[in-house]
Symmetry: C2
Protein backbone atom coordinates (compact mmCIF):
# COMPACT_ATOMS: atom_id res chain seq x y z
CA UNK A 1 0.00 0.00 0.00
CA UNK A 2 1.45 3.35 -0.99
CA UNK A 3 1.61 6.06 1.61
CA UNK A 4 -1.27 8.54 1.56
CA UNK A 5 -1.54 11.22 4.20
CA UNK A 6 -5.29 10.73 4.63
CA UNK A 7 -4.77 7.00 5.27
CA UNK A 8 -2.06 7.75 7.81
CA UNK A 9 -4.32 10.20 9.63
CA UNK A 10 -7.13 7.59 9.63
CA UNK A 11 -5.00 5.39 11.89
CA UNK A 12 -3.22 8.07 13.90
CA UNK A 13 -6.47 9.68 15.00
CA UNK A 14 -7.88 6.33 16.21
CA UNK A 15 -4.99 5.20 18.42
CA UNK A 16 -5.90 7.08 21.62
CA UNK A 17 -9.44 5.69 21.56
CA UNK A 18 -8.09 2.20 20.89
CA UNK A 19 -5.89 2.37 23.98
CA UNK A 20 -8.76 3.80 26.00
CA UNK A 21 -11.13 1.01 24.92
CA UNK A 22 -8.54 -1.66 25.67
CA UNK A 23 -7.17 -0.32 28.96
CA UNK A 24 -9.35 2.27 30.72
CA UNK A 25 -10.57 0.92 34.04
CA UNK A 26 -8.53 -2.29 33.93
CA UNK A 27 -7.03 -3.16 37.32
CA UNK A 28 -3.27 -2.84 37.87
CA UNK A 29 -3.08 -6.65 37.92
CA UNK A 30 -3.49 -6.40 34.14
CA UNK A 31 -1.76 -3.13 33.33
CA UNK A 32 1.31 -3.12 35.61
CA UNK A 33 3.20 -6.35 34.73
CA UNK A 34 5.79 -6.31 31.95
CA UNK A 35 7.56 -9.11 30.06
CA UNK A 36 10.89 -8.90 31.93
CA UNK A 37 13.76 -6.38 32.29
CA UNK A 38 13.64 -3.43 29.85
CA UNK A 39 10.23 -4.42 28.50
CA UNK A 40 7.01 -2.44 28.63
CA UNK A 41 3.88 -3.03 30.66
CA UNK A 42 0.57 -1.85 29.20
CA UNK A 43 1.01 1.27 31.38
CA UNK A 44 4.54 1.81 29.97
CA UNK A 45 3.26 1.52 26.41
CA UNK A 46 0.96 4.51 26.90
CA UNK A 47 3.76 6.53 28.51
CA UNK A 48 6.04 5.66 25.62
CA UNK A 49 3.48 6.91 23.11
CA UNK A 50 3.15 10.15 25.10
CA UNK A 51 6.91 10.68 24.97
CA UNK A 52 6.75 10.13 21.20
CA UNK A 53 4.12 12.86 20.87
CA UNK A 54 6.33 15.32 22.77
CA UNK A 55 9.80 14.42 21.59
CA UNK A 56 9.72 12.41 18.40
CA UNK A 57 7.30 12.51 15.48
CA UNK A 58 6.20 16.12 15.19
CA UNK A 59 9.50 17.64 16.41
CA UNK A 60 11.31 15.56 13.76
CA UNK A 61 8.81 16.58 11.10
CA UNK A 62 9.50 20.23 12.03
CA UNK A 63 13.23 19.69 11.52
CA UNK A 64 12.55 18.26 8.07
CA UNK A 65 10.14 21.01 7.07
CA UNK A 66 12.51 23.77 8.26
CA UNK A 67 15.28 22.46 5.93
CA UNK A 68 17.86 24.23 8.07
CA UNK A 69 21.61 23.58 7.91
CA UNK A 70 21.42 20.88 10.64
CA UNK A 71 18.65 18.39 9.86
CA UNK A 72 19.81 15.75 12.30
CA UNK A 73 17.16 14.41 14.71
CA UNK A 74 17.76 14.12 18.45
CA UNK A 75 18.23 10.46 19.44
CA UNK A 76 15.05 9.08 20.96
CA UNK A 77 14.89 7.86 24.56
CA UNK A 78 12.94 4.58 24.49
CA UNK A 79 12.79 4.45 28.28
CA UNK A 80 11.85 8.05 29.09
CA UNK A 81 8.41 6.94 30.25
CA UNK A 82 9.83 5.10 33.27
CA UNK A 83 10.67 8.56 34.65
CA UNK A 84 7.96 10.71 33.06
CA UNK A 85 5.00 8.49 34.03
CA UNK A 86 5.96 8.38 37.72
CA UNK A 87 3.10 9.29 40.02
CA UNK A 88 0.56 9.33 37.19
CA UNK A 89 -2.44 7.04 36.87
CA UNK A 90 -3.26 5.14 33.71
CA UNK A 91 -6.36 7.35 33.36
CA UNK A 92 -4.06 10.43 33.46
CA UNK A 93 -1.86 8.93 30.74
CA UNK A 94 -4.77 8.02 28.48
CA UNK A 95 -6.09 11.59 28.74
CA UNK A 96 -2.65 13.08 28.14
CA UNK A 97 -2.01 10.91 25.10
CA UNK A 98 -5.39 11.82 23.57
CA UNK A 99 -4.79 15.54 24.15
CA UNK A 100 -1.26 15.55 22.73
CA UNK A 101 -2.18 13.41 19.73
CA UNK A 102 -5.14 15.61 18.87
CA UNK A 103 -2.98 18.75 19.01
CA UNK A 104 -0.25 17.12 16.92
CA UNK A 105 -2.68 16.00 14.24
CA UNK A 106 -4.15 19.52 14.10
CA UNK A 107 -0.60 20.76 13.49
CA UNK A 108 0.01 18.21 10.75
CA UNK A 109 -3.26 19.13 9.04
CA UNK A 110 -2.36 22.84 9.18
CA UNK A 111 0.85 22.10 7.30
CA UNK A 112 -1.22 21.10 4.21
CA UNK A 113 1.50 18.70 3.14
CA UNK A 114 1.82 17.90 -0.55
CA UNK A 115 4.15 15.68 -2.55
CA UNK A 116 6.91 18.28 -2.39
CA UNK A 117 6.95 18.42 1.41
CA UNK A 118 6.57 14.64 1.82
CA UNK A 119 9.73 14.13 -0.21
CA UNK A 120 11.86 16.48 1.95
CA UNK A 121 14.61 14.81 3.96
CA UNK A 122 16.05 14.87 7.47
CA UNK A 123 18.92 13.00 9.06
CA UNK A 124 18.09 10.08 11.32
CA UNK A 125 20.89 9.45 13.90
CA UNK A 126 21.10 5.76 12.92
CA UNK A 127 19.65 5.52 9.39
CA UNK A 128 20.92 8.68 7.73
CA UNK A 129 18.62 10.35 5.18
CA UNK A 130 14.90 9.73 5.63
CA UNK A 131 11.94 11.47 4.06
CA UNK A 132 8.99 13.11 5.77
CA UNK A 133 6.81 10.50 4.05
CA UNK A 134 8.81 7.69 5.71
CA UNK A 135 8.65 9.45 9.08
CA UNK A 136 4.86 9.73 8.93
CA UNK A 137 4.48 6.11 7.78
CA UNK A 138 6.72 5.02 10.68
CA UNK A 139 4.54 6.98 13.12
CA UNK A 140 1.52 4.93 11.95
CA UNK A 141 3.32 1.59 12.09
CA UNK A 142 4.80 2.47 15.49
CA UNK A 143 1.30 3.12 16.87
CA UNK A 144 0.05 -0.21 15.57
CA UNK A 145 3.14 -1.98 16.87
CA UNK A 146 2.34 -0.70 20.36
CA UNK A 147 -1.30 -1.75 20.08
CA UNK A 148 0.00 -5.24 19.26
CA UNK A 149 2.63 -5.12 22.01
CA UNK A 150 0.08 -4.01 24.61
CA UNK A 151 -2.35 -6.79 23.66
CA UNK A 152 0.54 -9.25 23.86
CA UNK A 153 1.76 -8.21 27.32
CA UNK A 154 -1.80 -8.55 28.62
CA UNK A 155 -2.24 -11.97 26.99
CA UNK A 156 1.08 -13.24 28.36
CA UNK A 157 -0.30 -13.11 31.86
CA UNK A 158 -2.52 -16.05 30.97
CA UNK A 159 0.29 -18.10 29.44
CA UNK A 160 -0.01 -20.74 32.15
CA UNK A 161 -3.72 -20.30 32.86
CA UNK A 162 -4.72 -21.44 29.34
CA UNK A 163 -3.15 -24.90 29.87
CA UNK A 164 -2.82 -26.84 26.59
CA UNK A 165 -4.34 -23.97 24.52
CA UNK A 166 -0.90 -22.37 24.65
CA UNK A 167 -0.03 -24.43 21.56
CA UNK A 168 -2.79 -22.64 19.58
CA UNK A 169 -2.08 -19.13 20.86
CA UNK A 170 1.19 -17.87 19.35
CA UNK A 171 0.70 -14.46 21.01
CA UNK A 172 1.69 -16.13 24.30
CA UNK A 173 5.20 -17.03 23.13
CA UNK A 174 6.14 -14.25 20.71
Amino acid sequence: MDFQLTHALDVLERTPATFRALLAGLPDAWTAPNEGPDTFSAFDNVGHLIHGERADWVPRARIILAQGPDRRFEPYDRFAQYRESEGKSLADLLDEFARLRSANLATVREWRLGERELALEGEHPAFGSVTLRQLLAAWVAHDLGHVAQTARVLARQYRDAVGPWRAYLPVLDR
Copy 2:
Protein backbone atom coordinates in the same frame (compact mmCIF):
# COMPACT_ATOMS: atom_id res chain seq x y z
CA MET B 1 -1.12 -14.26 37.07
CA ASP B 2 -3.65 -16.77 38.36
CA PHE B 3 -7.00 -16.98 36.61
CA GLN B 4 -9.79 -14.98 38.23
CA LEU B 5 -13.19 -14.78 36.59
CA THR B 6 -13.55 -11.04 37.28
CA HIS B 7 -10.20 -10.38 35.58
CA ALA B 8 -11.22 -12.46 32.58
CA LEU B 9 -14.50 -10.55 32.26
CA ASP B 10 -12.58 -7.24 32.50
CA VAL B 11 -10.87 -8.06 29.21
CA LEU B 12 -13.69 -9.94 27.47
CA GLU B 13 -16.12 -7.05 27.91
CA ARG B 14 -13.66 -4.54 26.42
CA THR B 15 -12.81 -6.37 23.20
CA PRO B 16 -15.75 -5.23 21.03
CA ALA B 17 -15.07 -1.57 21.87
CA THR B 18 -11.37 -2.05 21.18
CA PHE B 19 -12.11 -3.36 17.68
CA ARG B 20 -14.62 -0.58 17.14
CA ALA B 21 -12.10 2.10 18.17
CA LEU B 22 -9.40 0.60 15.98
CA LEU B 23 -11.46 -0.19 12.87
CA ALA B 24 -14.83 1.59 12.63
CA GLY B 25 -14.86 3.92 9.66
CA LEU B 26 -11.46 2.87 8.29
CA PRO B 27 -11.48 2.55 4.49
CA ASP B 28 -11.27 -0.89 2.85
CA ALA B 29 -7.72 -0.02 1.79
CA TRP B 30 -6.81 -0.66 5.44
CA THR B 31 -9.26 -3.36 6.44
CA ALA B 32 -9.46 -5.64 3.37
CA PRO B 33 -5.82 -6.75 2.75
CA ASN B 34 -4.51 -9.87 4.46
CA GLU B 35 -0.98 -11.25 4.90
CA GLY B 36 -1.19 -13.92 2.19
CA PRO B 37 -3.11 -17.18 1.58
CA ASP B 38 -5.09 -18.49 4.59
CA THR B 39 -4.35 -15.37 6.65
CA PHE B 40 -6.81 -12.88 8.08
CA SER B 41 -7.48 -9.30 7.08
CA ALA B 42 -8.71 -6.90 9.77
CA PHE B 43 -12.23 -7.62 8.43
CA ASP B 44 -11.63 -11.38 8.72
CA ASN B 45 -10.45 -11.03 12.31
CA VAL B 46 -13.81 -9.56 13.36
CA GLY B 47 -15.70 -12.30 11.48
CA HIS B 48 -13.53 -14.93 13.19
CA LEU B 49 -14.37 -13.51 16.62
CA ILE B 50 -18.07 -13.58 15.73
CA HIS B 51 -17.84 -17.24 14.77
CA GLY B 52 -16.15 -17.90 18.12
CA GLU B 53 -19.06 -16.28 19.96
CA ARG B 54 -21.55 -18.49 18.13
CA ALA B 55 -19.71 -21.80 17.87
CA ASP B 56 -16.84 -21.97 20.30
CA TRP B 57 -16.42 -20.50 23.77
CA VAL B 58 -19.88 -20.51 25.31
CA PRO B 59 -21.08 -23.67 23.52
CA ARG B 60 -17.99 -25.47 24.84
CA ALA B 61 -18.53 -24.09 28.33
CA ARG B 62 -22.09 -25.47 28.18
CA ILE B 63 -20.75 -28.93 27.30
CA ILE B 64 -18.44 -28.78 30.31
CA LEU B 65 -21.12 -27.54 32.70
CA ALA B 66 -23.63 -30.16 31.54
CA GLN B 67 -21.17 -32.98 32.44
CA GLY B 68 -23.06 -35.34 30.12
CA PRO B 69 -21.69 -38.69 28.90
CA ASP B 70 -20.11 -37.09 25.78
CA ARG B 71 -18.06 -34.04 26.74
CA ARG B 72 -16.17 -33.80 23.48
CA PHE B 73 -16.17 -30.36 21.79
CA GLU B 74 -17.00 -29.90 18.11
CA PRO B 75 -13.84 -29.11 16.12
CA TYR B 76 -13.61 -25.39 15.41
CA ASP B 77 -13.67 -24.00 11.86
CA ARG B 78 -10.95 -21.33 11.72
CA PHE B 79 -12.06 -20.20 8.27
CA ALA B 80 -15.85 -20.09 8.75
CA GLN B 81 -15.81 -16.29 8.51
CA TYR B 82 -14.80 -16.37 4.83
CA ARG B 83 -18.31 -17.72 4.19
CA GLU B 84 -20.28 -16.17 7.06
CA SER B 85 -19.07 -12.59 6.55
CA GLU B 86 -19.97 -12.51 2.85
CA GLY B 87 -22.08 -9.51 1.90
CA LYS B 88 -21.66 -7.87 5.31
CA SER B 89 -19.97 -4.55 6.00
CA LEU B 90 -17.34 -4.08 8.66
CA ALA B 91 -19.85 -1.90 10.54
CA ASP B 92 -22.31 -4.83 10.50
CA LEU B 93 -19.66 -7.16 11.88
CA LEU B 94 -18.62 -4.77 14.66
CA ASP B 95 -22.26 -4.46 15.74
CA GLU B 96 -22.84 -8.20 15.55
CA PHE B 97 -19.71 -8.98 17.58
CA ALA B 98 -20.67 -6.48 20.29
CA ARG B 99 -24.20 -7.88 20.52
CA LEU B 100 -23.11 -11.53 20.68
CA ARG B 101 -20.34 -10.87 23.18
CA SER B 102 -22.63 -8.91 25.45
CA ALA B 103 -25.20 -11.72 25.43
CA ASN B 104 -22.53 -14.35 26.05
CA LEU B 105 -21.07 -12.47 29.01
CA ALA B 106 -24.55 -12.08 30.48
CA THR B 107 -24.88 -15.86 30.22
CA VAL B 108 -21.51 -16.45 31.89
CA ARG B 109 -22.41 -14.08 34.73
CA GLU B 110 -25.75 -15.87 35.26
CA TRP B 111 -23.88 -19.12 35.75
CA ARG B 112 -22.31 -17.73 38.98
CA LEU B 113 -19.26 -19.88 38.47
CA GLY B 114 -17.27 -20.90 41.53
CA GLU B 115 -14.14 -22.98 42.06
CA ARG B 116 -16.10 -26.21 41.67
CA GLU B 117 -17.45 -25.30 38.22
CA LEU B 118 -14.15 -23.83 37.01
CA ALA B 119 -12.45 -27.17 37.72
CA LEU B 120 -14.95 -29.23 35.67
CA GLU B 121 -13.56 -30.83 32.53
CA GLY B 122 -14.47 -31.29 28.89
CA GLU B 123 -12.74 -33.07 26.03
CA HIS B 124 -10.91 -30.94 23.47
CA PRO B 125 -10.65 -32.72 20.08
CA ALA B 126 -6.85 -32.18 19.97
CA PHE B 127 -5.75 -31.65 23.58
CA GLY B 128 -7.93 -34.11 25.51
CA SER B 129 -9.07 -33.05 28.99
CA VAL B 130 -9.30 -29.32 29.62
CA THR B 131 -10.95 -27.41 32.46
CA LEU B 132 -13.56 -24.68 32.25
CA ARG B 133 -10.98 -22.39 33.85
CA GLN B 134 -8.53 -23.08 30.98
CA LEU B 135 -11.28 -22.55 28.40
CA LEU B 136 -12.17 -19.14 29.84
CA ALA B 137 -8.52 -18.10 30.08
CA ALA B 138 -8.03 -19.16 26.45
CA TRP B 139 -11.04 -17.04 25.42
CA VAL B 140 -9.29 -13.99 26.94
CA ALA B 141 -5.90 -14.73 25.39
CA HIS B 142 -7.55 -15.49 22.03
CA ASP B 143 -9.24 -12.05 22.05
CA LEU B 144 -5.94 -10.33 22.79
CA GLY B 145 -4.15 -12.38 20.16
CA HIS B 146 -6.62 -11.11 17.56
CA VAL B 147 -6.20 -7.51 18.72
CA ALA B 148 -2.47 -7.99 18.17
CA GLN B 149 -2.99 -9.77 14.84
CA THR B 150 -5.30 -7.03 13.59
CA ALA B 151 -2.86 -4.28 14.53
CA ARG B 152 -0.12 -6.26 12.78
CA VAL B 153 -1.98 -6.79 9.50
CA LEU B 154 -2.72 -3.07 9.37
CA ALA B 155 0.90 -2.15 10.14
CA ARG B 156 2.23 -4.55 7.50
CA GLN B 157 0.74 -2.42 4.77
CA TYR B 158 3.36 0.22 5.56
CA ARG B 159 6.27 -2.25 5.52
CA ASP B 160 7.80 -0.56 2.49
CA ALA B 161 6.50 2.94 3.14
CA VAL B 162 8.49 3.27 6.39
CA GLY B 163 11.82 2.91 4.54
CA PRO B 164 14.74 2.26 6.92
CA TRP B 165 12.49 2.39 10.01
CA ARG B 166 11.56 -1.21 9.21
CA ALA B 167 14.62 -2.24 11.22
CA TYR B 168 13.10 -0.68 14.37
CA LEU B 169 9.55 -1.93 13.85
CA PRO B 170 9.47 -5.69 14.50
CA VAL B 171 5.67 -5.73 14.01
CA LEU B 172 6.34 -5.37 10.26
CA ASP B 173 8.18 -8.69 9.98
CA ARG B 174 6.54 -10.90 12.59
